[in-house]
Symmetry: C2
Subunit: 269 residues, 2 copies
C-alpha cells in the first residue's frame, strides 16, 4: 500500500480528460496535476524543445511526494517518453503505451489509425509500439494541427471544425481502418465530429480513459494502491495565470476547480 500521490502532467488543459478518468477509476488516490499553460502547445514544437520542457515538468512534479508519473500529453508521451523514460527515477505511464495496447485488443481487421499533433505523428512512435505488440498490422496516421486550437477556442461541433476534420480524416476514412486512436488528450472533446466522419464501425480509442485504466492496473500489480477509504484530493498547478485554467478546466473535468489551482514558475525547474 502506498499513500503517495499520482503526479500527472500535460502541456495544458487536455490532460484533464485523463484526470477525470483517473478520479473515476481510482477515487481514493491523491493527484497532483501540472499543466504547462505558459508554454502550450507542445505538438508543433521540435523534439529538442519538447524534451527540455518535459524534463522541467517532471522535475517540478518530483518536488512532491509522488509514486508514479502519468504523462497525460499525447505529444510528450510519443516524443519525449521513449527518450527520457528510463532516467525519470519513478514509474511512468504515458498515453501512448496505454492506447496502443487498447487498440491492439480492439482491432479485428488489423488496420489501426492514429491522429495526433504534428510532432506526435512525425515521431512514428505509435507505429513502433503497435508493431511490437502485433504482427502484420497496418498503421495509418494523420496529423491534425488545428484540432487543439479549435478545441481551446470552443469549436467542438461547428461547421469550421467539421470542415477541418474532413480534410484531416479523409485518407484515414478511405484506408478501411476499424480502430482509431485519438492520440491527443484534447481530442475526446471532438468525438462527435470524428465519429460522424469515420462512421459507427470505427472504434475510437480515448487515450485518457485507457491511461487511467493502465495506471490502475500498474498500481494494483505493484501493490501501490492507496489504503485510503475516503475520496482522494486533487491539486492543480499551471505555468500561466490560474483564471483561464479554472474556467476551461471545469469544462474538461465537468466539476468546479476554483481555488484549487496554483501558479508555478516552471522555467526555474
Amino acid at each position: 500500500m502506498d499513500n503517495r500521490a499520482i503526479g500527472v502532467f500535460d502541456s495544458g488543459l487536455g490532460g484533464l480528460t485523463a484526470v477525470k478518468q483517473l478520479m473515476r477509476e481510482l477515487p481514493h488516490e491523491d493527484i497532483i496535476y501540472f499543466g504547462d499553460t505558459g508554454r502550450v502547445p507542445y505538438g508543433t514544437r521540435s523534439v529538442d524543445t519538447i524534451i527540455k520542457y518535459v524534463e522541467g515538468d517532471i522535475r517540478f512534479l518530483k518536488t512532491f511526494d509522488i509514486k508514479i508519473i502519468v504523462v497525460a500529453c499525447g505529444t510528450a508521451s510519443a516524443v519525449a517518453l521513449p527518450v527520457i523514460g528510463s532516467s525519470i527515477g519513478l514509474p511512468a505511464v504515458g498515453v501512448l503505451d496505454a492506447a496502443s495496447k487498447a487498440a491492439v485488443k480492439v482491432t479485428k481487421n488489423k488496420k489501426i489509425g492514429i491522429i495526433g499533433t504534428p510532432s506526435t505523428i512525425a515521431s512514428k512512435a505509435y507505429g513502433t509500439k503497435i508493431r511490437s505488440l502485433m504482427a502484420d498490422v497496418g498503421i495509418y496516421s494523420a496529423a491534425c494541427p488545428l484540432f487543439v486550437p479549435l478545441v481551446e477556442n470552443g469549436h467542438t461541433s461547428s461547421e469550421v471544425v467539421r470542415l477541418v476534420a474532413q480534410e484531416y480524416l479523409g485518407d484515414l476514412k478511405d484506408s478501411g481502418i476499424d480502430t482509431l486512436i485519438l492520440g491527443c488528450t484534447h481530442y475526446p472533446l471532438l468525438k462527435g465530429v470524428i465519429s460522424g466522419i469515420m462512421g459507427n464501425d470505427v472504434a475510437l480509442i480515448d487515450v485518457g480513459e485507457q491511461t487511467a485504466k493502465r495506471v490502475g492496473e500498474f498500481l494494483c500489480e505493484n501493490g501501490l494502491m492507496s489504503e485510503r477509504t475516503g475520496k482522494g484530493s486533487c491539486r492543480y498547478f499551471v505555468s500561466d495565470t490560474t483564471e483561464n485554467f479554472e474556467k476551461l478546466g471545469s469544462l474538461f473535468l465537468q466539476q468546479r476547480i476554483e481555488g484549487l489551482v496554483n501558479k508555478v514558475d516552471i522555467e526555474k525547474y
Copy 2:
C-alpha cells in the same frame, strides 16, 4: 549617424512581415531579429506571462549592439510596451503606436476597427491610444484567436478561414467602420480574405508596414540612420529549432534565409 543594428522581436514568425518592410524602407540598416518560437503564441496568455517573456526577449536583444528596439508583435506591443516601455533603456517603437497614428490619418468617418489576439483586444490599448490622438472617434474591436494558428498551418484563403473570418468580422462589418487595423503581424497574410468580407471601402492598416515607416522617421529625426551605403545584413535568432523557421520564414519574407538563423535558449535571459 549610427551604424548600430535595429533589434526586432516577435512571439514567432509574424514579425517578419515588419522585417520585410524594414528592409524595403531602410535597406542600409543591419537588423537583429528574435522570434520566440519556443513560447509562441503570446496572444492567448496572461498579461503577467506576456510581460515576463517580453522582458526576456529585450534582455536578449540588448546583448547585441543595437540602437532601437522594434516590438513587431501586436500582443507584446499592446500588452507589455505600455507597462515596461520606459524601463527599456533604449528607444522602442511598437506596432500599436505606428498603426494608431496611421489609422487616425486615414479615417474619414471617425469609425476605426481593430482586430487582434484575445490579449491585445482585452488590453483596450488601441482604444486608449487612438482616443489620445483624435476626439469623438468610434472604436470597434474583435478578437480573432484562430487567425494565428490558421496562418501558421497554411490556411490563408481556404473555406475554413473564410468561415472563421465571417464569424469574427460580422459585427465590425455592420458597425460602418471605414478603417480596420490588422493588429497582429500575422494578419497581412489574410488581407485577401479580410478585404473580401469588409469590402473595398474599408482601408486595411498593415501594422508591419506602418511600423517600418515609423522606425524610419524616428531614426531620421534623431540622426540615427546608418551611414552605410551598401545593403545592411539581417541575422535571425529563434528559441525553437531553426528548420521550421527557415522554411516558413522564407514565405513571410519572400526571400531565402537558410543558414542565417541561430537557436538561443531564451529562458536564460
